[in-house]
């Protein structure tokens, strides 16, 4: 395989000889077996910006898919704990929160243990911005049996939510209620 490249102003052009075939190359474009009729110039800056945009887009799509996966799993958990776990799926889908997939993944890991406790009456999960707040949060409303032990338990629950990785804990708000 022979290859030649020449640098013009801000881009490369060249040919690659592979066996009988000659491929024409311009920076940022796919290889082509046909000689270009007119020279299309794409600067390295533009190519780099397009590549960055594409990379950001694909990473956003990957994150959205991960978030969707966690929401589906949370919905399945809700099915298993009908009446005790209530997830506001609409608000979770609609509200833009950084690292939402990590927060939901964390909730999925820790919630089953808490849902299993008789002192926990109900756990609601929604998303929104508190009055006068700056940013939207994942909001956990935990309803406990009305007892002295339940107050201690609610503190343990809150600590577990607020002491995780800051990407997770910074965007969680917990309200403990007693009934």
């Amino acid at each position: 395989m022979a290859m030649s490249l020449k640098e013009t102003n801000q881009y490369f052009t060249g040919t690659i000889q592979a066996g009988q075939q000659t491929l024409y190359y311009e920076s940022g474009l796919a290889l082509s077996s046909e000689e270009p009729e007119e020279v299309l110039t794409v600067s390295e800056e533009v190519t780099s910006a397009l590549e960055s945009a594409l990379s950001a887009l694909s990473s956003n799509i990957a994150r959205a898919l991960l978030t969707l996966r966690e929401i589906v799993l949370l919905s399945s958990l809700q099915e298993g704990w009908k009446g005790k776990l209530n997830v506001d799926l609409e608000s979770l889908l609609e509200t833009s929160i950084p690292h939402k997939e990590l927060i939901l993944g964390y909730l999925l890991r820790i919630l089953p243990e808490w849902l299993d406790k008789p002192e926990v009456r109900e756990i609601k999960i929604t998303a929104g911005t508190p009055e006068g707040g700056l940013n939207p949060h994942i909001v956990i409303i935990a309803k406990f049996k009305d007892s002295e032990e339940a107050v201690d338990m609610s503190e343990d629950f809150e600590y577990q939510l607020l002491s995780a990785d800051p990407k997770v804990s910074n965007r969680i708000l917990v309200y403990s209620l007693f009934e």
Partner: protein, 188 residues
């Protein structure tokens, strides 16, 4: 006469919550509603004083319009909202579970206090993002919970082991100024 120490409100809350249900005592829900409010105000006023006193010591090079507006809002504008917004901005900047606990505590205590003082229904409701939830001020659990929330604020103000809020304000001036700018957005 010395200035009033807002820790006194916390002591009133403790005193009220220790009252037993003897005949002649005020109704339990009235005691609990008052106690919850005292814990909130004690925490809020202590935070406000530490912020005000710390920020007033900033060098003139940092005293821009935002800082002056922030101090003015602490002294009379919208001090409740601006303190909570400041804590929210601070928890994003400094990775410290105590700050997250204090932010969560102040959001919770403020909702509880608003319901305690203004919602006279038998089952008052606290406001939260996307809805309201009923609370029962006849239950002692809400007073215990308010005590715990207060203790997180006290811990950040008086901590012997870690940085106190006062130290954070003194040492991390640029971070604090950034947080002030973000907190002011809630008012504008």
């Amino acid at each position: 006469m010395p200035d009033f120490d807002p820790k006194g409100f916390k002591l009133v809350g403790d005193y009220l919550s220790s009252l037993t249900n003897d005949s002649g005592a005020p109704p339990r829900d009235a005691i609990n509603r008052t106690a919850v409010g005292r814990y909130y105000y004690s925490a809020f006023l202590q935070l406000r004083e530490v912020l005000k006193n710390g920020l007033k010591k900033y060098p003139p090079s940092l005293c821009d319009k935002d800082l002056r507006d922030f101090i003015a809002s602490l002294e009379g504008g919208s001090p409740h909202a601006v303190i909570i917004a400041f804590l929210e901005a601070l928890k994003e900047e400094i990775n410290d579970v105590r700050i997250r606990q204090v932010h969560n505590s102040m959001v919770y205590l403020r909702s509880l206090r608003n319901a305690a003082d203004y919602d006279l229904r038998e089952a008052p409701e606290i406001e939260m993002p996307r809805g309201r939830e009923k609370v029962n001020f006849s239950s002692q659990s809400y007073v215990r919970k308010a005590q715990r929330k207060y203790s997180f604020v006290e811990n950040l103000l008086d901590d012997e082991d870690g940085d106190k809020l006062e130290d954070i304000i003194r040492v991390r001036k640029n971070t604090v100024i950034d947080c002030i700018k973000r907190a002011l957005k809630t008012l504008r």
